[in-house]
Symmetry: C2
Subunit: 477 residues, 2 copies
């Protein structure tokens, strides 16, 4: 029996029921003190841990990710939940403020104005394929949505339906254990785009959060924007995460940077949003050595199983297409399999001429662009699309000499790294996991870190409200 | 010579030039210290004051607004500019934060992460008809865009093209006086939708802000969302601003509430976004007295000139249509003119049956809905569209008895008023001038008050950046 047979798509009725139940919980959730939301999120974390190895085994069998990776990912997932529990309890994320009354002001009195935020309403979340725990059923989007006080309806990813069922069950038990109504959270299975479209178009859905491909993310964003009542839709989609290796750094430590890049691009079989897909460096003896090291590492590498057959197929097709472009030199291991690491080398001219080289190929592929000069590299940087990250490797006077490049990269990415590698996203208050389109649909928000809660809340101002009817956080002001 | 002949629409070339110049200023603006942006905004305020009475006279002749109103509006405009100058200088709106490095953390070190915000890029602003100064060329959207460090291109409203030229000239002189490049600000005239569409579709425009009708706002939002690279577009559009007069308040002070509502709905010939268009109260002797007072005031009122012939036409048509609906009782002064205050009385059944009664008619019109009971009023409240404001008049035990209504209104509006009248929007940190669609396209933002700057900035995280290359606000962390 295939997954599609075991886990059938949610029907229109089931979608409507889930969203209607979520909507019925809006007032209950909105009235909860932060401590209670914290209790809920902590309980979800505990119930996920309570699933024990069964969850890891199921996830492993559905995604081909290693146990070690899944164990670490489970830790990240429960950490995220507990971080958001703390954020909900603390409450300072609401940024409350007050402009007190001025009864005698001329020409008109100033009323008492107090501002807080309220949950935006039922949130639809689309689980990602590449994080079956940390960006799936009880992942960052769900955790931040619940922390904001929103009921959440999650569309499971068809790549790991069993893992999703297990997790959803844990969430349901956690909700019950803290005495909240079941409608606070629902999961829908769905491998057909119909399920997603029905969900995003449901009149009672108030916001959406998605992690996945550009094509699916754009389609859902379009549907969200075209509704009779449009809703905010945050999609985190494609990102090439360009890396610039500057002159002195290349000379001083080219091989070690090459080694780090190889590790980063092949981590998790290249299936991270922040996988470094484009590398730029200026021509010279140091670049030859750098490229040699990269080539050696790619040649000596081996294939890895990808998350789903369809991701493997997309990767194979995408990489095969790049290899056919005139002027592209391809380097791959002798034995090719599912997720074969692929290195493509091109001149700056070839890169400029072929738009498709600028787009993400999801998987362990890297395009090394050999630039005639630093000026040429700057010019090309200006033409890049938005990304989640941009990275600069610099030594000595490199940064001083490339201030213009830094300014350009600041405009292109949500996170700017120095002498590091973009994979590995810290879950913390300072993180920005977002960036200009096509990295996301709205660069003003993030889907990782404390600030991701801001996607799901909207401000409200109370004017001359009798204190006892104000939300608790405004009574104290 | 008509305005259309004097002020011709900007050509495609002119639009492209304005946006290109704006884009060329992005790095210069982004690198400015807050003090310099403050200097610019203060200079704009001074140069507007320097226009003296000529500005007020021109605005008066183009909009039919009184000199007293325009004088007050100019004060609000320069106050807004100076408030944003202070916000830019202060810098705390950037909400910078840091998660410091943990070199020894296992299994991986934590890098040094510091977060700030950067300007989103060139902002397009659409001037409103109803605030020829405070929401026009140098109004709130322009002030908050510049304060965020964004170059701004403003599309002037064809209702007051001469006022716009004068103001734009003052802004240009202010920019010159502080030594910034001219591209930081441009104004485009345009009465055809083509100009607006070209502007919102220009690839180098990074965000849009609009105040005006639902039809125009939605069309531009749609265009912004359908771009190959979609951009955030904040439109502040239609709002009915419902008012609920509860039982004890109606009995205790019905006539004085009626008087206040009449003043609010006719203020500025009803041409405010927060004009109270819908009033709900429960049947009884007190409602009869309340309605009598309202009727007397409407009957004794006189017409006022509206901002433009097309607004006057829309108002006349909209009000005339309401009057034709079966079950609608109309009350208007004997002498009818341009902007005639109109009161419509309906039963709850008539209101529920006729969807068009729920929509805004821009101008001094008010629909009084006589509800059979408080339960019926609650039920109807649930069916209302989003609004900028919702108002409750309550005495004694009214609020305690209507907690469910308060919860519903919280979900419907951006500002909740108690025993007040919605016109009159304070420009301050706690203000929320936004609300669920169709009030705005994104209830998470505001177009009035300090928080309006957040529309035009996006976060960026610097990872392990050498201190001397960090933005100044991150160096100090």
């Amino acid at each position: 029996m295939t997954a599609a047979e075991l886990y059938r798509d949610a029907t229109a009725d089931e979608i409507d029921r889930a969203v209607t139940h979520a909507d019925e919980c809006v007032d209950v959730m909105a009235a909860l003190p932060g401590a209670k939301i914290g209790e809920l999120l902590d309980a979800i974390a505990s119930h996920i841990e309570g699933l024990g190895d069964e969850l890891l085994q199921r996830a492993g069998s559905e995604t081909a990710l290693t146990e070690a990776r899944l164990r670490a990912e489970r830790g990240r997932t429960t950490n995220q939940l507990r971080q958001f529990a703390e954020i909900a309890r603390d409450g300072s994320w609401k940024q409350v403020r007050r402009d007190g009354p001025m009864p005698d002001r001329q020409p008109a009195r100033r009323p008492d104005l107090r501002r807080t935020v309220i949950p935006i309403g039922p949130v639809a979340v689309w689980a990602a394929s590449n994080f079956p725990l940390a960006f799936s059923i009880a992942g960052g989007d769900t955790a931040s949505g619940l922390a904001a006080g929103c009921p959440v309806v999650v569309k499971a990813h068809p790549g790991h339906p069993g893992t999703s069922e297990l997790t959803a069950h844990a969430v349901e038990k956690a909700i019950e254990s803290v005495g909240l109504p079941a409608g606070v959270f629902s999961m829908l299975q769905g491998s057909s785009p119909e399920v997603s479209l029905r969900l995003v178009q449901h009149p009672k859905i108030a916001a959406g959060a998605f992690t996945g491909s550009l094509r699916a993310g754009r389609a859902l964003y379009d549907a969200a924007s075209r509704r009779p009542i449009p809703i905010p839709f945050f999609a985190e989609m494609g990102s090439v995460n360009p890396v610039f290796v500057l002159e002195e750094a290349l000379r001083e430590r080219g091989p070690s940077i090459a080694e780090g890049l190889f590790q980063s691009v092949t981590l998790g079989v290249g299936q991270f949003c922040t996988c470094p897909g484009l590398v730029f460096a200026a021509e010279g003896a140091a670049l030859d050595e750098f490229a040699n090291t990269l080539r050696d590492r790619f040649k000596a590498s081996s294939s890895g199983s990808m998350l789903t057959p369809s991701i493997a197929r997309s990767y194979r097709d995408g990489a095969a297409h790049l290899a056919t472009i005139e002027g592209v030199h391809t380097c791959a291991p002798a034995i090719k399999g599912d997720g074969t690491p692929m290195l493509f080398e091109v001149s700056d001219d070839t890169f400029v001429k072929n738009e498709e080289l600028k787009h993400e190929v999801f998987g362990p592929s890297m395009v090394l662009v050999r630039c005639a000069s630093a000026e040429r590299m700057l010019e090309i940087a200006r033409s890049l699309e938005g990304s989640l990250t941009a990275t600069v490797h610099a030594s000595g006077h490199d940064l001083e000499r490339n201030r213009a490049l830094l300014a350009v990269l600041t405009r292109k990415a949500g996170r700017l790294l120095f002498n590091g590698f973009p994979t590995g996203v810290e879950v913390c208050a300072s993180m920005q996991h977002g960036g200009p389109f096509p990295a996301t649909t709205d660069a003003r928000f993030t889907s990782v870190g404390a600030a991701s809660i801001q996607r799901f809340a909207r401000p409200i101002c109370f004017q001359d409200c009798p204190p006892e009817f104000l939300p608790p956080e405004l009574q104290a002001l």
